[in-house]
Symmetry: C2
Amino acid sequence: MNILEDFGMRLKELRLRSNLSQDMLAARCGLDRTYIGSVERGERNISLKNIQIICNTLDIDISYFFCDERFSLRSASLKSELDRPLTERFRYYESAEENLIMWQVSGALSLEEIKSISVDLKAACLKLRLGKVKLLVDNRKMMASGEPIVFQHEITERWEELQRWFLPHCEQIIVLCNSKLMQNQMNRLAKRSGIIEVQRCLYCDDEDWLTKELRPESYFNIR
Amino acid sequence: MNILEDFGMRLKELRLRSNLSQDMLAARCGLDRTYIGSVERGERNISLKNIQIICNTLDIDISYFFCDERFSLRSASLKSELDRPLTERFRYYESAEENLIMWQVSGALSLEEIKSISVDLKAACLKLRLGKVKLLVDNRKMMASGEPIVFQHEITERWEELQRWFLPHCEQIIVLCNSKLMQNQMNRLAKRSGIIEVQRCLYCDDEDWLTKELRPESYFNIR
DNA sequence: ATGTGACTTATAGTCCGTG
DNA sequence: CCACGGACTATAAGTCACA
């Protein structure tokens, strides 16, 4: 396996994780459909500019592109995910006593669902002492067919808007991730929304990381 | 600063950290001197194959090339380093009781010095219960003019030989590093010498990481 | 030891198509 | 939706003489 085939496989993985066809990715990159195909097959010695264009389109750091985390070449089917009741895929909880809000995403969410969730979360936050809120986000189960979900553009924009809203109210934000890919994605989101100073995105590849009980006291100084 | 200039700067940094001229690097890569120069100035849209060739020559992962750790553009002068007495730059210690050997590299070492050190370390190791030896290597002060030293090819080969010799005798190896660059370098070395299974290369960017006292009991289960 | 401009040739990347 | 092909144009690779 040479570097070009390797890169091609990686691209295919990440494209499928993002639920895009070669056609759609090419269009978003401003590159040719057949070109993306031949890169994926390892037939092209792609240049740095185009690598960057593709990475920006997929919203993934170049360095992540060359790391050792790998995924299947199966496309992430979100359809079946979205059939599960929302209460299985999203849960939140706020505590006035600890001035803390936390939520868990355990599957895919549709754009409409995120919109209504945003309203609820903002209302919940406003019950707390603003400026000093601790926010704990648990994305460890945000998976489809056993692999991490990568956001679509429209979805990312929604989360970004929500994070921007939360930023001035929070003193600390912790986001738990289920992969380096998720961590990369959340860090990029954090940089864009300007919250990188107060936010930490965490991921371990310990065996039990994904299933450990969510305990705010292990991330924040509480009592 | 576009991606090409960025890449060029990065290349220059890492080349200087490796104490190579454009000429020497080009020769080792099998590329033209002026080509390397124009890449460093961000004038070329370099392709993936050539990126890989350069990375292999510098013995650095592609992913590291695109990470956020940066160095100065000053060349690492090893000459003045090598004038300091060897006892300041290298120290080792073995404990039969704990079946442990540890060493500290605190500056540059010449090829001759490494050869004689190797002999001493092997002799020290043979005093222990073989197969169960714990090895602790402290590279946190392996610096020249305040920045991490990157090995020359000949030097790497020596360390690799030493590591290969130690491998069958050790049950665990911990290497402390002073940068992601050092960590990258040591991990590559570990993969090549086949010891990656028992070796862990550690680095934190905590403030006191570089100066913390060396305490084997914090890395191994001892007593 | 590196920067510059001018040059050739190889191949990256596009656009049309087919199965 | 994707693999593959042929014909085309733009651009990267690679070399040189000279500062």
